[in-house]
Subunit: 150 residues, 2 copies
């Protein structure tokens, strides 16, 4: 009949995700004025090279409205350009501009620094356990393969 919130998996995960996200946010927020969807679209597009909004959404696990607005903001900033796919004019093919690539390159180093700062507080065993645990959960939640939107 008793229940402990602190031991409850969804609670523990949400709270850790918030703390960790908050810990890295200043890098893209304070220094570049980006929000999280924009940062994620940037990272996804840097990784994919060229991609449509749908592909970016799948690759960064974000709903298409978030992706659409993030793309618009990055376009205003001249960090990406779009062109219509001539073979299917519904698709907008996106690509980072040089300033976009430079912006992204300037972000990843400090992002990694903050991530590493967390890892360094973990023991070697904990670090190993972390990867095992996250990989297992990703499989358990069916996040290995492609994800539609959400």
């Amino acid at each position: 009949m008793s229940f402990s919130l602190e031991a409850f998996l969804p609670y523990r995960l949400t709270r850790l995700a918030e703390a960790v996200s908050l810990h890295v946010r200043p890098v893209y927020k304070e220094a570049f004025g980006l929000n999280r969807p924009e940062w994620r679209v940037l990272a996804a597009l840097a990784d994919l090279g060229e991609a449509t909004a749908t592909e970016i959404g799948r690759h960064s696990t974000q709903h298409k409205t978030k992706v659409s607005r993030a793309i618009h903001a990055l376009e205003q900033r001249r960090w990406l350009v779009r062109r219509t796919d001539p073979s299917d004019r519904r698709h907008e093919i996106l690509r980072l501009t040089e300033p976009g690539k430079r912006g992204f390159a300037a972000l990843i180093a400090p992002m990694r620094v903050r991530e590493t700062a967390i890892f360094e507080k973990l023991s070697l065993e904990e670090r190993r356990a972390l990867d095992v645990a996250l990989s297992g959960l990703e499989r358990a939640m069916d996040m290995d393969g492609a994800r539609e939107d959400f």
Copy 2:
């Protein structure tokens, strides 16, 4: 120069937290019309017995505005009552009503079922790793001791 979003800790955690939260949400959402802050306040208050809004916020790691609104909603529902602490009239001491306790009791079983469904998809090693990893991260992010707000 390369960067992989899928391997980035904040991204992995946020995405897992969302998936896991989504997996348990129907229990309090569909069946009882509660939202997450309300569910958390309920669980915190059930655990604490009697508490102030501030204590609930600390115990459930939520900002005081979320707590305030959740308390208001649960009060409307007659699941909790408040009385002013006579020794310090700034404090509102909160307590679950009998319907509130019954509601909470009805929630925890199906919540646990959903949590267990996730654990069952993990190997024994992964389950152990999960607890080691989360505990380590909680310590790394200073979430062991008391948390102020948020």
